[in-house]
Subunit: 369 residues, 2 copies
């Protein structure tokens, strides 16, 4: 992996992340393909929509179909036929949020599969070994995503566990995979500082900020982003995990974040909520039933070029699969187009104006919700 | 519409049906897009899979989104963005099979919507007027699909109703739409003969055989196909409604049928049943979980070129939408490829051998069922 910063506009920056499988322009949005596929899209469509990298979930793929099947298929790239970069998470977040009957030990976590109740153990070694079998271009250290709210004492203990696990992950030999460390520390600035200091001292290929967007107030999240991100090495990629709201992204990019992942555009699409240059709209609303205009007349996506709101309304109400697919294509196009424009603004030193303008339209009340 | 017979191999024939929107090579398979979309596919994918014409259901589109919305969108072609020929059925079959509280009168049928229970009346005039608004290239006369089993007396009365409705449909002026008459007569050969005589005397653009594949034994169906189809005008297209099993298609083509529609390839795909040159297989079967070969190594479809059985098994078990889509692409490709080869066999006067060979592989027990 090669990371080249192209331009700085105050703390915001554009860069390029280079891998043998392709380059990623940052700030970058990584759509989520939990089971190796971004729901409803083929890999071709995903790439055509503008995605340069996809995120997949280690926890889900480990449980089904299992890392052995994927390894034998030539890794996740071969298995799902996505020939561009992939990032896998460590599985930690899902072990803590989806699995049942967790038991946290020094070396990892015992848990029961949410699919069939079977018993499993994942710790730092197991996580990295699974991620080696999956073969993603970027893999993540195993951490505990500290829940919100947590006491100072719990957060500190959780941070120490994350640090010790990070050290174990760092020791494992890797070839052709980049390993990112994860900063925790909950909502406490001094613990965030301590986590940055401990994790960055280990020398990872990049750094993620985890444990945000877990239920805390927006202002608290923004404050912690502004406090934590500038402490990270300037010359390494910075990834804000699980944050995808447009306003949050703008705040994070302003603080120097390079990478994002979130289910927001894709999950919303499946529920009929569409992003437009005029704010959100919900295709369920009855006024769209006979509306022959596209979702967004300024949008050039496949959906907007070919189909009307009336047809999308019909597909939604008829529970047609094509509804989810056309909506997903549109919402992802909206996100990638937003990131293209954001990078352009940074390159032209107009990010501040860009941020003000888009905070305005993103905050507009959803139409029809 | 222009219908040109290209070649006869005994009663089987190849022909071309020409419309301003495109030509259809027959024998032809028409995939079913009930709500105007073949489930999970975009119009582009449907055309790329080999479809030259799509069937849509008048009953469903009349109830939702309503013919007015579709008319305002430039007809069904504009609404769903399918720029090739479309055939709409008359709505009769669904009124009799899906709607509640039917009341059959001389001029049509009162029924309650299966969606919201609202009350509607459709007779021959209403059906043709809805189909004019939808704007399909081929539209169908309104008929009663006689249920199985029915007594001779009921079947005769039903036939008379269908004849009187056909006459009313025939009187309505049409522009740029071809109207097909429908033969009924249940399982009684003399009533089939009477229906052929009455319906063909009205001079429709083509003729459909309805009321088969409604639960009767296969041999009875085949016997009636062999008896009825050769009675129809040789120089008009012949359409066997709702029949899509490979063995039934072979029997019907041998008797001179030109057009077919059925949900078989698409519905089976969504349930994980796949058609292959070696018979059927079910992707649910556990042996496919680690099977890295394609569905059918002799198949050139998008799914077989890009994905393994192991991945399709994973998508199916993970309930991913992409599962339905990739399976549908494969099954439709199988059907269209089968029709290409069948037309070639007719053109080379080897249809008899083709039929024997494919009856053999189609009758193989489904793998994994």
């Amino acid at each position: 992996m090669n990371f080249k910063i192209l331009h700085n506009d105050n703390l915001a920056r554009t860069a390029i992340l280079e891998f043998p499988r392709g380059s990623i322009q940052t700030p970058a949005f990584m759509p989520v393909g939990t089971h190796g596929t971004v729901k409803s899209l083929s890999p071709d469509e995903l790439h055509q929509s503008g995605a340069e990298i996809m995120l997949s979930n280690t926890y889900h793929l480990y449980l089904r179909p299992g890392s052995e099947v994927i390894k034998n298929a030539g890794g996740l790239h071969g298995f799902v036929n996505w020939q561009h970069p992939i990032l896998t998470d460590s599985g930690g977040f899902q072990v803590f949020s989806l699995a049942k009957l967790r038991k946290i030990e020094e070396h990892g976590v015992w848990f029961q599969s949410h699919i069939d109740g079977s018993s499993h153990f994942i710790g730092p070694e197991e996580s990295i070994n699974i991620q080696k079998a999956l073969g993603a271009d970027i893999i993540m250290a195993f951490d505990e995503c500290t829940p919100y709210p947590s006491t100072y004492e719990y957060t500190e203990k959780s941070l120490e566990l994350t640090t010790s696990w990070a050290a174990k992950c760092r020791e494992i030999e890797l070839s052709n995979q980049s390993l990112f460390g994860i900063i925790q520390g909950g909502m406490y600035k001094d613990l965030r500082e301590r986590s940055v200091s401990e994790i960055t001292s280990m020398g990872f290929d990049g750094y993620a900020v985890g444990g945000l967007s877990v239920g805390e107030p927006k202002e608290m999240m923004h404050d912690l982003i502004r406090h934590t991100v500038p402490l990270l090495h300037v010359d390494k990629p910075r990834y804000l995990m699980g944050v995808g709201d447009i306003v949050d992204i703008l705040t994070a990019v302003e603080a120097g974040v390079d990478m994002f992942d979130c289910v927001m555009p894709t999950r919303n699409a499946r529920n009929g909520t569409l992003f437009t240059s005029q704010g959100r709209m919900n295709i369920k609303q009855s006024s769209y039933r006979s509306d022959l205009s596209p979702i967004d007349s300024s949008c050039s996506c496949y959906t907007c070029r070919n189909f009307s709101r009336a047809y999308l309304s019909h597909l939604y109400h008829s529970k047609e699969i094509l509804s989810m697919r056309l909506n997903t294509i549109h919402n992802l196009h909206f996100y990638f187009d937003f990131f293209v424009k954001m990078r352009q603004a940074i390159n032209e030193n107009t990010f501040k104006e860009f941020k003000s303008y888009h905070e305005g339209s993103a905050l507009k009340l959803p139409q029809g919700v």
